[in-house]
């Protein structure tokens, strides 16, 4: 019953979020602010993690294909496909669920317990739409860019790790990342990213928006936001993979 209650409440929140905005130009300003807060401020962590993950994927692929029957360009191919298909969309989404999700839940939760959301409601502002919609739009617009950055940086990290450690030559790695390239994989990755961006922002906003109590509950809501966003991302990862790749 509890889960049905929360799912119902989540969709009620979404119906308020997607109600007609009050004033377009104010939303535009909010969206720009959220793009900077949720998107641009996440570039550094995405770059760092993608670089190291690309490096690790290359080294592990090399370690597991130490066989003369396997051509070494497969290391580049393996690195590319792992990053495009799974890492840059799903893994980055899970990391952003931690960073962005907790940020959203704690921001909205604090606004709730300090009555800032009540203040908006008193003024006649649709607080759900004003506070949540710009976050969803910002993430849905900007996260695909983060995915593309992650793909580029991840493959670059793999190339650096492979060539520096000598497990693969630069020529073989570059040949591998070009070999049997399927452009649709990029589309698949970006479609997943858009869904995940929506999940991270909306699920986290739900947990923050309905906080009751004080600072302790804000902290708990922040944790719940990360956990539930991550679980829903993993669930949708399976569903989308089946729908898009089968």
């Amino acid at each position: 019953m509890n889960i049905i209650y929360h799912i119902g409440n989540y969709f009620i929140l979404l119906s308020k979020v997607f109600a007609k905005p009050e004033k377009g130009n104010i939303y535009y300003r909010q969206i720009i602010r959220e793009i900077i807060s949720l998107g641009v401020n996440s570039v550094a962590i995405v770059v760092i993690i993608s670089t190291f993950m690309g490096a690790v994927i290359t080294l592990q692929t090399a370690y597991n294909t130490e066989n003369p029957l396997f051509p070494s360009y497969l290391i580049g191919l393996g690195c590319r496909d792992s990053i495009i298909l799974e890492f840059s969309s799903t893994m980055v989404a899970l990391i952003l669920a931690g960073k962005v999700g907790s940020n959203i839940a704690s921001e909205l939760g604090t606004m709730r317990v300090t009555e800032q959301i009540d203040a908006l409601e008193i003024m006649g502002v649709n607080s759900a739409s004003y506070l949540v919609l710009p976050k969803i739009i910002a993430a849905v617009l900007f996260n695909p860019l983060l995915t593309i950055i992650s793909i580029i940086v991840g493959v670059f990290g793999g190339w650096v790790a492979g060539t520096v450690t000598g497990v693969v030559t630069s020529e073989d790695f570059i040949y591998g990342i070009q070999y049997a390239f399927i452009p649709y994989y990029i589309t698949y990755s970006l479609i997943k990213t858009v869904f995940f961006a929506f999940i991270i922002t909306s699920v986290s906003a739900y947990h923050g928006y309905y906080v009751e109590g004080g600072a302790l509950e804000v902290g708990r809501s922040s944790t719940r936001a990360v956990v539930y966003s991550s679980v829903v991302i993993l669930l949708f990862n399976v569903i989308l993979t089946q729908l898009l790749l089968s």
């Binding site: 004033k23 606004m111 009555e115 800032q116 203040a119 409601e121 006649g124 502002v125």
Partner: protein
């Protein structure tokens, strides 16, 4: 004028407001008093529409507010200003941006007009040279005054104050009380103040409603408070030794 008629409200089958009826007059400060947990904050939040009531009617003039949908309520809410217990200023906005916010949302003023209006409101509450400070950089008393400035930005017909003196020293509390009274007279608002501060009752309580365990127990003026023979009201008003001594002197 705001009138509540026979309103009741429960949380999880626990009655918090029981059949309350009261009228709040325009141009005077109406006080809701009662001890913590008596239901006065729930009553105030029900009046402004933050809590849905189970039974009864809330009337703004002739309009039954609690029967309106969100968009219809919006038109009345544009005429409301509210000062919250913790001020509820937007953390990410400066003092000036906080006051400009309702103007941004509901007027077509150009940026210069909005800034002028914000400065007028800030000057009205004696806030000077703090326009570019953030709420975290100003004192509790200043936050309350900025909260009042934001509440009056749109020339409200209705002003609500939830525990305006909580957390303030007695001198600053008097400044806030005086400000609320002045603004009520100046803007001719229907003002409802929620408080358990007896200084406020005596200073600005032109009409006082006493809530006890979710029920309206007494109503009158601040002068009536001192001479009432209502036992529960007297227990509340003369709860501390100083008040008892003052009463004995009288």
């Amino acid at each position: 004028m705001i009138a509540v008629k026979n309103i009741s409200k429960s949380f999880n089958n626990l009655p918090v407001l029981i059949d309350i009826s009261v009228t709040f007059e325009q141009g005077i400060t109406n006080l809701i008093i009662g001890q913590s947990g008596s239901g006065k904050t729930v009553l105030l939040k029900a009046i402004v529409g933050l809590h849905d009531i189970d039974e009864g009617e809330i009337l703004y003039g002739d309009i039954v507010f609690n029967k309106l949908n969100f968009h219809e309520k919006k038109e009345i809410r544009k005429q409301m200003g509210m000062l919250f217990q913790g001020s509820a200023l937007f953390d990410s906005a400066t003092v000036e941006e906080n006051v400009i916010y309702p103007l941004d949302m509901f007027t077509k003023m150009d940026p210069e007009e909005k800034r002028e209006r914000a400065n007028f409101c800030l000057n009205r509450v004696n806030i000077h040279n703090a326009n570019h400070l953030y709420p975290s950089e100003i004192s509790g008393g200043m936050k309350k005054r900025v909260g009042i400035a934001r509440a009056i930005a749109l020339n409200p017909k209705y002003l609500f104050c939830d525990e305006p003196n909580s957390g303030l020293d007695p001198k600053t509390a008097i400044v806030i009380d005086d400000l609320i009274k002045e603004i009520t007279e100046e803007f001719n608002t229907t003002t409802i103040v929620n408080t358990h501060d007896m200084n406020s009752v005596m200073e600005i309580g032109e009409k006082v409603v006493f809530i006890y365990e979710g029920e309206k127990c007494w109503e009158g003026t601040n002068q009536d408070v001192l001479h009432s023979d209502n036992e529960k009201l007297n227990e509340f008003v003369f709860a501390n030794n100083l008040a008892k001594q003052v009463r004995n002197i009288h």
